[in-house]
């Protein structure tokens, strides 16, 4: 009883706290471990995938989570959508604790997830049937499902493909169908787990544009997981994961200033920032206010070839 009351009180405090802060997702000292059995081993080996991760995501933001393979970023994504439950610490999605079973469905309604492989997340045999899958599961009445399909396909620009079979679409289009399928559930937040990893450059751009549109015009909170830094260059906030921990965090401009540290984590900077960094490292004297490719271009043109000292050795 006392525990229950305490819990209720805690929840109440959190409710007020998060109302002030407008946080939609928050993890507190999140730990996730799993056991693996290797062939010649009797006792299971415990692996810690997430180690004391605390992040908080503001409503309406575009948040990037960067990390190289095996840094725990996909596991984190699954924690944020209650597909996995924490082994330690807590995950709050809109003030719902993901470790409580009764919260799981409401959490998944609030935070949708789009996966890497477009083929493996499309369930329906027609685009419209696939988009309907989520609302069907939620028990939305039939007429409303149709309006939700229309809206979701409109928002992702896939209306023309409504009656097509997913097999006949390109990778980027399939991924947009998957996004529409999540949108039809009317979530407040969507977690994208490397949605462009399997796409060609054109599909990548299409999908990214669609995601930006959702964030900007529909006010959907986006959590974008990737190892391509260019894709989160315009994010509101970035977390860099390494070895299951948050290694760095900050607004993009703050991160570019710590170029050394980012590169040490095995992530390359966006092309222009990388170039700037290398030029400076190589000893070229570039004023500190020059931060992006365009400014660098202007600076180089103004200074002219004669003004730049070249080291030919």
């Amino acid at each position: 009883m006392i525990g229950g009351d305490c819990y209720g009180g805690l929840l109440f405090c959190r409710l007020i706290y998060s109302k002030i802060n407008m946080k939609i997702i928050e993890t507190l000292n999140l730990i996730f471990k799993y056991k693996t059995y290797t062939e010649n081993q009797e006792a299971p080996e415990e692996k810690t995938v997430l180690d004391d991760v605390s992040i908080s995501i503001k409503k309406g933001d575009f948040v990037g989570i960067l990390g190289h393979n095996g840094s725990g970023k996909s596991t984190l994504a699954r924690q944020l959508t209650a597909l996995l439950q924490p082994s330690g610490g807590t995950v709050f999605i809109k003030n719902m604790d993901s470790s409580r079973p009764e919260n799981i469905i409401p959490i998944r309604r609030t935070a949708g997830m789009v996966f890497q492989n477009p083929d493996n997340q499309i369930i329906g045999n027609l685009v419209e049937e696939d988009v309907a899958f989520g609302p069907e599961n939620l028990g939305v009445p039939t007429e409303q499902i149709w309006t939700r399909i229309a809206e979701a396909l409109e928002a992702t620009g896939m209306t023309a493909y409504r009656e097509k079979s997913p097999g006949s679409l390109s990778g980027g289009q399939k991924q947009k169908v998957a996004i529409a399928g999540i949108l039809a559930m009317e979530p407040e937040c969507i977690v994208f787990d490397e949605p462009t990893a399997m796409l060609d450059p054109r599909g990548r751009k299409e999908v990214l544009d669609a995601i930006r549109h959702l964030n900007r015009d529909k006010g959907i909170t986006v959590i974008y997981i990737t190892h391509h830094i260019e894709e989160v260059e315009h994010a509101d906030y970035i977390y860099v994961m390494n070895e299951g921990q948050v290694a760095m965090e900050g607004r993009p401009e703050q991160l570019w200033e710590q170029a050394d540290a980012i590169r040490a984590l095995g992530i390359s900077l966006p092309f222009d920032k990388e170039l700037l960094f290398l030029l400076r490292q190589g000893g070229m004297d570039i004023p500190a206010e020059i931060q992006d490719g365009r400014a660098l271009e202007e600076f180089l043109l103004q200074s002219g070839p004669g003004n730049i000292e070249q080291d030919n050795s």
């Binding site: 959508t81 597909l83 045999n125 899958f133 939305v140 097999g167 998957a178």
Partner: protein, 267 residues
């Protein structure tokens, strides 16, 4: 070679038959097949022919396509016809050495051929006019009463429709793996049947691994979209009987009664 393989042979057209509720078509096919095996009578055969003929015309599926469905069964049909023709005792019409053909034999094999051909044609008309999805929906709904006996009908039909969705993906993958193995010098086409089966191993193992991985991804994606079984689920395209469906049931009933009269009373 593999790309051409398609399962389900839906023929897209707009006909009264296409618009019928899948449950009507399932019941119709079942009843049609049962009536085919009523006692032999010429009248019954004529009625069945008329019924099947008008259904084919109504479906707007080209007759040649319906016939094509019978082709794979050609050998089986011929074989059973010949066996019946030669092994039925009765009034001998023709005799040459061990070959003896009787009047009864001719009749029996004639009926057999017609029944088998009609059976295949009747059921292929159903698959021509019903998408695999409608079919699983129809099965789910008409067998829904089994859910109360704790037989997971919803889950089964979900499994079937997912399997149907993944068949083209997996055939493509198989094609890719075969080409990848062939480009590394695997020889998949020579040798006898056992050797060839052994050679398929390096194709099947990666295919299975990838299928399992896909299944686990899909399960996660379904979880993420709040799938929790059939309970409380609504449908995008719920099955609702319309006027035409009741008319079709009426026609079906009439047909079965006529067939019973022809088969049992007159004979």
């Amino acid at each position: 070679m593999l790309r051409e393989m398609t399962l389900g042979q839906y023929y897209k057209a707009d006909s009264p038959l296409h618009r019928l509720d899948p449950r009507v078509k399932l019941a119709g096919t079942l009843l049609f097949v049962i009536t085919l095996f009523f006692p032999r009578s010429v009248l019954g055969l004529i009625v069945a022919t008329l019924f099947l003929g008008s259904v084919i015309v109504m479906s707007r599926v080209p007759f040649s396509m319906v016939i094509r469905g019978v082709k794979p069964l050609f050998i089986i049909i011929c074989f059973s016809a010949i066996v019946n023709l030669l092994c039925t005792p009765g009034t001998v019409l023709f005799e040459a050495g061990p070959v003896r053909i009787t009047q009864e034999g001719i009749w029996i094999s004639f009926y057999l051929v017609v029944r088998l051909v009609y059976l295949v044609m009747g059921s292929s008309i159903m698959t021509f006019t019903t998408t695999p999805n409608q079919l699983t929906d129809g099965l789910e709904k008409s067998l829904g009463f089994l859910q109360r006996l704790h037989i997971p009908i919803h889950e089964l039909s979900m499994m079937i429709s997912i399997a149907l969705r993944f068949i083209p993906i997996l055939t493509q993958e198989l094609d890719k793996i075969m080409k990848a193995q062939m480009s590394r010098g695997a020889d998949l086409e020579s040798g006898n049947i056992f050797q060839r089966a052994r050679k398929l191993l390096p194709v099947l193992v990666p295919l299975f691994i990838s299928a399992i991985r896909r299944a686990s991804d899909l399960a996660l994606a379904m979880d993420a979209r709040c799938y929790s079984g059939g309970e409380g689920r609504t449908k995008l395209k719920p099955l609702i009987y319309r006027r035409n469906d009741f008319i079709a049931y009426g026609i079906l009933l009439l047909y079965v009664v006529i067939m019973i009269v022809c088969g049992f009373w007159i004979a």
